[in-house]
Amino acid sequence: MKLIYYPGCTLKNHARNFDVSTVSSMAKLDVEVEELDRWNCCGTVHALGATNVMNRIAPVTNLVRVKEKQASEVMTTCAMCYNTLKRANLDVQKRAAALDSINKFMYLDDVDYHGDVAVHHLLEYLRDRIGFDKLAAKVKKPLAGLKVACYYGCLLVRPKEVAFDDVENPTVMEDLVKALGGTPVPFAQKTECCGAYHTVNNAEIVADRTNKIMSGAAEQQADLAMVSCPLCAFNLDFKQPDARRLNPELQPMPVLYFTQLMALAFGCDEESLRFDLHHVDPKPALAARGLI
């Protein structure tokens, strides 16, 4: 059976590199992914109000679309989509009245929702369903010598109910890098917030966060930072010039999605990497390690 894949909005424009590298690398792992039909925005952020129903409709609609495919699980790569879909699912599983309201609101859909779709992040799927040993066997070009700062941000590990790894010291990304033949570096800032949507109207907050996080990666002599969220990627990559105004010693460091490193190690073609969509060009750092 095909694995239903929910890409999310940003993977279809600013983060096309995340989308194409996901599909290409999964093909190398012999997993056929199928993009969910008629998917809509997940809502991007989980509304925290205990009485909120309206903001659950967008994520739950996507889970209904999964059921329409006669599937019982969905995979996503974006940390924000994962977090929002998973938390909405957990919320409606606990609040029968809210779920009933949503089903009534969505009376035009043939399928009712009962909280019965499992939401997986791709990192979790790789670790638990494919296994890093099997994944390592598919590596054609080991990332030998490449030092990677694994950045989880907030949404893969918080809150506890959605975390698929240790909330304070997750290691799934490091384990992936090792399986690809690379070297993860210790990274104290790996679960610290990047400033998220403050990038819209509070640029100074994001500059401060980007400086602290990327300085932490630089202190460990990382060649690049690896992420799983298009908003983290935007802040940590495109906002490096703002961070450099706070700290002139901060050197440019590329920020890549974990799926791009997989695609590179699996020998996927250049179109699967889309390095043209980065602010800091990843090619010099990868060329210095003989990887491109």
Binding site: G8, C9, T10, N13, H14, A15, C41, G43, T44, V45, H46, A47, L48, G49, A50, T51, N55, C78, M80, C154, R158, P159, K160, V167, E168, T191, E192, C193, G195, A196, Y197, H198, T199, V200, N201, N202, A203, E204, I205, D208, R209, P230, L231, F234, F238
Partner: protein, 140 residues
Amino acid sequence: MAITTARISSAQLKSAFVARVQKNADQKLLACYQCGKCSAGCPMAPHMDILPNQIIRLAQLGMHERLLASSAIWTCVSCMTCNVRCPKNVHIAEVIESVRDLAMRSGRRHEHLDIAEVPAETRAALPPIAMISAMRKLTS
């Protein structure tokens, strides 16, 4: 120097504002004993006018004018670091969002973010994930 003694009792929690905060956040404010761990780990704390533990204290005291006037309630970005570290399992982020919700519904600061005021050049460069999340958290 004048000394002010503030007492916290269930009387404050019965004020309409505090009752709404507790209901919307589904939290019991008196569970917090002010250890400060939330503020110690908060990545936004350097940018806040009052700290997360102080937000909870003001809510416990029913000081809603001070709370609604703080910029910190808008600085919190729901990263959940406080929530996972709280020894009393208080969901601080939920309390803060609850206060934000009430502020946006009060008419006083109906929309905290006016997208039209964001320079066109900035808007054009932003990924949708940034715009949508900001609007979902900062507008009613």
